[in-house]
């Protein structure tokens, strides 16, 4: 017997168990989305909800949708979100301080109202209580069933939605396209500009350790006057505070060092 089949309008016990374990997790995750400060955390919590949903789809005899949910949402869409978060700034955390007067309280009231009304209406709705189940329909397999309907009855909608998809892709490209305000500079111009801006050395930055007595990457090069050139060392190293002092490798001091 199929685990998903319905008996006396009731699901079988394993499904109930699954539901009562997963549903609270999902609700809590969803609620968590509202309260966590960091957007990344919200995204992760959303992913949890989505995976839960995918499982429920499968439980609801929609394996195809379940897979698609994981592939498209949890895979593609959530990745997209994360990419954007990276672009916008990973750690830009939201202040949860409300700035619009009365917004939060009315939001909570409104949402609670919607939820309350939805649930109460659902509970009173006549939903065709003799549940049919999808065993018959999914007889040849869920994907086949979906395909059969999609390419017959919904073929027009399918075509339209594909047009929508293409349009959306185009739209995204247009939006992301940065309008060029000035003509592109040729290499020659770039070079001339570079020479004119004396702040940047024309010949390129010195490598680490040049003229110094050591050529490790954390040793700054020495300028002609003997002072160390900070720009010759990677900034990361400088940030870590792992910059070595070239003076420690000076000749006259080397002896002192050797003596020690």
């Amino acid at each position: 017997m199929n685990l998903a089949s319905i008996v006396n309008n009731q699901t079988q016990t394993p499904e109930a168990v699954l539901f009562f374990i997963l549903a609270p997790v999902m609700v809590l995750s969803a609620l968590g989305m509202l309260v966590v400060k960091k957007a990344v955390h919200s995204a992760l919590l959303l992913a949890v909800v989505m995976i839960g949903l995918a499982i429920f789809y499968i439980a609801n005899e929609a394996p195809f949708l379940g897979i698609v949910q994981i592939v498209v949402y949890t895979g593609a869409v959530m990745m997209l979100f994360l990419f954007i978060l990276m672009l916008v700034g990973v750690d830009s955390s939201d202040s949860l301080e409300e700035t619009i007067k009365g917004q939060r309280i009315s939001a909570v009231l409104g949402s609670v109202g919607v939820g309350f009304l939805l649930i109460s209406l659902l509970s009173r709705a006549e939903l065709g209580r003799a549940y049919a189940g999808l065993e018959l329909v999914n007889g040849e397999g869920n994907v086949q069933a979906i395909a059969k309907t999609l390419f017959t009855r919904y073929v027009w909608a399918f075509e339209v939605i594909s047009a929508l998809l293409i349009t959306a892709a185009l739209g995204a490209m247009v939006l992301a396209h940065r309008e060029r305000l000035l003509p592109r500079k040729s290499q020659r111009e770039l070079a001339a500009e570079r020479v004119r801006q004396s702040a940047i050395p024309v010949a390129g930055l010195p490598g680490p350790g040049t003229y110094a007595l050591h050529n490790a990457v954390d040793i700054p090069a020495l300028l002609p006057d003997g002072s160390p050139a900070d720009s010759s060392v990677s900034k990361t190293i400088a940030a870590r505070g792992e910059l070595a002092n070239p003076n420690t490798f000076r000749m006259n001091e080397k002896n002192e060092a050797g003596e020690e």
Binding site: I100, Q103, A107, G110, S111, G113, L117, S120, L121
Partner: protein, 637 residues
């Protein structure tokens, strides 16, 4: 049945065509414009004469002829043809209009010779002749209406001929508007006639009245409406105020339009509508009252005027009062009214031309106080003017005697107290007429010279004097000829159906000879007072004395007619206009704009909900969702 004539249309068409040519023509026509105009008028006169003789050749009951031209307006049973009608009544007018009109055209050639717009002047004169002929030739009230307003237009144009002077332009406007008030009456009359009789032609209405189609109330309303029209056009009380100002026009215009022809159109209208007034006793009484009041009104104003033209205008008003009064006296009066109208046409036109001649010689001075002793310098003018003077005051055997005397006679015969009152008024009017006309005569031609320094009076050229002479001849003879064996009365009889050819047979209040004696006595009294006051040896101040009685002041102000009009109509009208302008701006448009600004206010209030925070908007979405869900929940309970 009436005969037809194919020539009637030329009466109107010739002057109309000439007017069009003169108006549209270029400056090249300037040199011959006056000749074309005069020829057109003369041609119309010739046509009129031909028609007249043709008419005399027919039996009295077949003398009326018609000429249907085309269907003018036909809607449902409202059917008005453009048809011309020439009967005994119209032919009198046709001859008067074209005859006097032609004389005045001739006179104007000289009078207007220095005006660079002379061509235009003649065009207007021709336009007037055409319109006036249409007025008297139309066979329906509506055709008459066209001529009626046409002469009003011509009058407007001619009064305002020198409209570069604001006062003259205002006078023209005043005349037109006063006439328009009268036109309301004519409009209403046509409407009443149509509703009551289904026809607006004279014959149709006459038949309807005869058949008793209309109630007495309707007939009296019709009569009153017609009277209103006549009052407006003929400058009768209470619409008389425009006539004095109308003297702003060139003097030939005053002679033709505002003395001889147009202003008598009211008399024509009432006479033409005799069938209505014969059965509408109240309207008829109103006619008499209007005539009587105007008669005295004009006479009183005439006494106080120093402007020779305004004095003559007041006299015109008064004389037309006589005519109107006569028409109000029933069948017996129409013919006498017509007779007085024709004789008045001669002598008043003659006197106006005389006045014009005087002005011509006196640098366009109109103030009689600056005349005096002109008889030696302008002999022809003096003699023709004097003949007219004798005619108007009613000295036998001049024309005015016959016509005015008859009116006094029938006024006395009106019966009872009415007869006595009317008789006294007409006699009083005759006395006053004699007084103020003598005053004009004395101040202008006798006494001492009171000229302005640069005045060089001289006799006018022949082109001006000849018409005056012809008119003077008319003033002498017309009355006598008309009255010879009641010829005129009998001629008009088929129109008025008044079987009073032997009016002598009726019971008189006083015998005719006594009436004539009374009238002559009244005239004599008037003349004597005038001589006593303005005669030989009396000094006449060059400036009108200010220390005169209140009555004189009132009379000089035209018996306060303008003040009254201003207080009753103009001021309230102006206030109303101003108030309405404010209402339009503030209330009606204010309401409209109020809707606009209300929308803006509401919008700026609602705008506050748009904080720009996308989360607030989202909140509203949620609120909406809650609302929808709640509705579903409530509905499904």
């Amino acid at each position: 049945m009436n005969g037809t004539s194919q020539m009637l249309v030329y009466l109107i068409a010739i002057p109309l065509f000439s007017a069009t040519v003169l108006l549209l023509g270029s400056r090249a026509l300037d040199k011959v414009g006056h000749i074309i105009g005069t020829l057109a008028s003369t041609a119309a006169f010739v046509v009129g004469l031909l028609e007249f003789f043709a008419m005399l050749g027919r039996a009295p009951e077949n003398r009326a002829v018609t000429q249907p031209l085309f269907t003018w307006i036909e809607v449902g049973n409202f059917n008005v043809g453009a048809t011309l009608l020439l009967d005994q009544l119209s032919i009198c007018f046709v001859l008067l209009i074209t005859g006097v009109g032609t004389l005045i055209h001739i006179y104007s050639i000289a009078y207007m010779s220095h005006d660079k717009d002379r061509r235009r002047f003649f065009a207007f004169l021709n336009l007037f002749i055409a319109a006036m002929l249409l007025l008297v030739l139309g066979d329906s009230y509506l055709s008459l209406y066209v001529g009626w307003e046409g002469v009003g237009l011509a009058s407007y144009l001619l009064i305002g001929f020198w409209n570069q002077k604001p006062a003259y332009a205002t006078a023209a406007k005043k005349a037109f508007v006063a006439n328009r008030v009268g036109d309301v009456g004519l409009s209403l009359a046509v409407m009443i006639a149509f509703v009551q009789f289904g026809s607006v032609s004279f014959s149709g209405v006459a038949e309807g009245v005869e058949a008793g189609k209309a109630s007495s109330l309707a007939l009296n309303c019709l009569g009153a409406a017609l009277l209103l029209a006549a009052v407006g056009k003929s400058a009768q009380f209470p619409l008389q105020a425009w006539l004095g100002d109308a003297m702003a026009g060139p003097t030939p215009v005053s002679a033709l339009i505002h003395a001889a022809t147009m202003v008598t159109a009211g008399v024509y209208l009432i006479s033409r509508s005799h069938f209505v007034f014969d059965v509408a006793s109240v309207a008829q009484l109103l006619v008499v009252i209007v005539g009587a009041i105007t008669l005295l009104f004009g006479a009183i104003i005439g006494m106080a005027k120093d402007d020779i033209k305004k004095a003559l205008a007041a006299s015109t008003m008064s004389q037309i009062g006589y005519m109107i009064l006569a028409t109000g006296l029933g069948p017996v009066g129409y013919a006498f009214a017509m007779m007085h109208l024709l004789t008045h046409g001669f002598f008043k036109a003659g006197m106006f031309l005389g006045a014009g001649s005087v002005m011509h010689g006196m640098n366009d001075e109109v103030d009689m106080r600056k005349y005096g002793a002109l008889r030696k310098y302008m002999p022809v003018t003096f003699i023709t003017f004097g003949l007219g003077y004798l005619a108007i005051i009613g000295v036998p055997p001049f024309a005015g005697f016959y016509s005015k005397d008859k009116i006094i006679e029938i006024a006395l015969d009106a019966g009872g107290a009415k007869g006595i009152i009317l008789g006294s008024i007409t006699l009083l009017g005759a006395a006053i007429t004699a007084f103020y006309m003598s005053r004009v005569m004395l101040m202008t031609f006798f006494g001492s010279k009171r000229w302005e320094a640069d005045a060089h009076p001289h006799e006018s050229p022949a082109l001006m004097t000849i018409p005056m002479v012809i008119l003077a001849i008319g003033s002498i003879s017309a009355g006598f000829i008309f009255n010879l064996g009641d010829r005129f009365i009998n001629f008009l009889n088929p129109v008025f159906h008044s079987d009073h050819s032997g009016h002598g047979e009726k019971e008189h209040l006083l015998p005719p000879i006594v009436v004539s004696a009374l009238a002559l006595t009244a005239v004599a009294i008037g003349v004597s007072i005038a001589i006593a006051k303005y005669g030989r040896g009396k000094s006449i101040p060059a400036v009108a004395p200010a220390d005169v009685s209140v009555w004189t002041k009132v009379a000089r102000r035209d018996l306060l007619q303008d003040d009254l009009n201003e207080a009753l109509f103009m001021r309230p009208g102006q206030e109303l206009t101003k108030a309405l302008a404010i209402v339009d701006e503030k209330v009606i448009d204010g309401a409209v704009r109020g809707v606009g600004s209300l929308t803006l206010d509401v919008a700026s209030g609602v705008r506050r909900t748009q904080t720009g925070f996308v989360r607030s908007y989202a909140l509203w979405v949620i609120v909406g969702a809650v609302g929808i869900l709640a509705t579903i929940a409530v509905m499904s309970l």
